[in-house]
Amino acid sequence: MDDEFAIETRDLTRTFGTCKAVDGINLCVPHGAIYGFVGPNGAGKTTTIRLLLGLLRPDSGGIFLSGQPLNQNRRELMRGIGALVETPSLYPHLTGQENLDLTRRVLGLPRSRVTDALAFTGLTADADRLVRVYSLGMRQRLGLAQAWLGKPALMLLDEPANGLDPGGIRELRSQLRQLAHDQNATIFLSSHVLSEIDQVADWIGIINHGRLFFQGRIQDLQREQGPLRLVVDKSLDAAAALTANGWQVLQQSDDFISVQVASDADVGKVNRCLQEQEIQVYRLERKEETLEDLFLRHMTN
């Protein structure tokens, strides 16, 4: 197995009864990447993360973390992983500080790590309050502090922005970038809120019904897919001319058409083709599809 990947899975499959929660997934998460794992509710994100943590056993397929098989080295591999799965795992009858102290004790870390983690997540002032009285966002922060406590090389975060206010989300993003760039940590985060992933991740995997539809760099995904929108004087003629020349016209109305193109070079060719037919091109725009558009398209396909 190649150890250039922090996470690699091979045909990872897990069923619950008749429900294929994860269906032959091949994840490749490079070291140091911020990898966004996107999919709608029930897509299989949490199940995948539970599998990666060894909390669920796969029906078939392999999991390799830094090239090492998880089923043989679970204990060693978990030392380098911090995780936040679904809701944070907290004990409400203990204070925030005591909750972190539990994890600290098990990992055998110095006490100063608790203070650092509290400061990192902005919870220092609430450290001595019982978690029972914490707000949703405060719990989420404490969950993140818990995941980060051991300064892991790999963080698995399941919907980390749940319950955070806009300021908190922005802060989270900058913290994630900081962890990835300064500490060279790999961050695997799942979400169904696309804007979160869009702004922070450099790699992305799209999952639905347990299957991975796309995996790669975010830019590749967008460049590959964006259609070309043209504002022209005679849209009917333009559409006919382009179709005759082998272009795929996606949409056509009175004053504009949109055409599927593969690259920037294609944009030039389309323009030339229309000029040869003496059609006036007023505007040429290659609208970058937002992740949302892509996502919805992948979901409906």
Binding site: L53, E76, E86, T87, L90, Y91, E98, V106, G108
Partner: protein, 250 residues
């Protein structure tokens, strides 16, 4: 080994402010106070020739027949509920330690609470006896059978092991606390039906009656009850930890 101590240290911290911890102080004290009340009010009638021995004997009997088994079942349910209710298994079982360590640590903290409650029982009996002596001048010279109290408590502590392990296994295995409590109640009812009919051997083998049988100085099978409770408890604990560490908790 060191990682086991770390997990144990975390488990001990988890008990802070819990009902389980409070109950291990209050449940023995409730028994002591109840019997103390009886002796304080009706000591003349029920005291007899050796009133403080009778007092200690009654406390130990009430404790081992009903309160201790029930308390052990409750401790098991409460310790398991700490993880079940807060959905913390996913965090606990993803730690870089052997999963069996986690379960063994839970068994040990639970056993610690059982020992703690027994300690409070002994202390409570001795204190209450002293107060009775002060309250009743005619009892001032009555002797308190301290060796009997300690022997009875220690043997019942050994004997409670088996039922505690069974209750722990059930409580950790199922999310709901109902199966554990259901088993405990059914078992105690069964015990009340079976044992007064002279089934001393059955009583000394049936897990939920072991504490009472190991405490009773009149029971000929006393060593059997204590030994079986302790060894059976360890055996079931080992099996349960082995089984639980192979389970998926979700």
């Amino acid at each position: 080994m060191r990682s086991f101590y770390r997990v144990l240290a975390a488990e001990v911290l988890k008990l802070k402010r819990t009902l389980a911890l409070r109950l291990s102080v209050f449940s023995p004290l409730i028994v002591v106070i109840l019997v103390f009340g009886m002796y304080a009010v009706r000591g003349q009638q029920i005291g007899g020739a050796d009133p403080l021995t009778g007092f200690a004997q009654l406390v130990l009997t009430v404790w081992t027949i009903i309160m201790f088994p029930l308390f052990a079942a409750l401790v098991a349910a409460l310790i398991a509920a700490i993880e079940h209710q807060n959905e913390t298994w996913k965090h606990l079982l993803a730690f870089p330690v052997d999963r069996s360590n986690v379960f063994v640590a839970k068994w040990l903290t639970g056993s610690g609470l059982l020992l703690l409650s027994s300690f409070f029982l002994c202390t409570g009996v001795c204190l209450a006896a002293e107060i009775l002596r002060l309250m009743r001048p005619d009892w001032r010279t009555a002797s308190l059978p301290i060796p009997m109290i300690f022997r009875g408590t220690i043997l019942s502590c050994c004997a409670v092991g088996l039922l505690f392990s069974i209750q722990m296994w059930i409580s950790l295995r199922w999310r709901s606390f109902l199966p554990g409590i259901f088993v405990a109640v059914i078992a105690l009812v069964l015990m009340f039906i079976a044992i007064p009919r002279g089934a001393a051997l059955f009583g000394s083998l049936f897990p939920w009656s072991l504490p009472a049988m190991a405490m009773s100085p009149h029971n000929v099978h006393r060593p059997l009850a204590a030994g079986w409770g302790l060894l059976g408890g360890v055996l079931v604990a080992v099996l349960a930890c082995w089984n639980l560490s192979r389970r998926e908790f979700s």
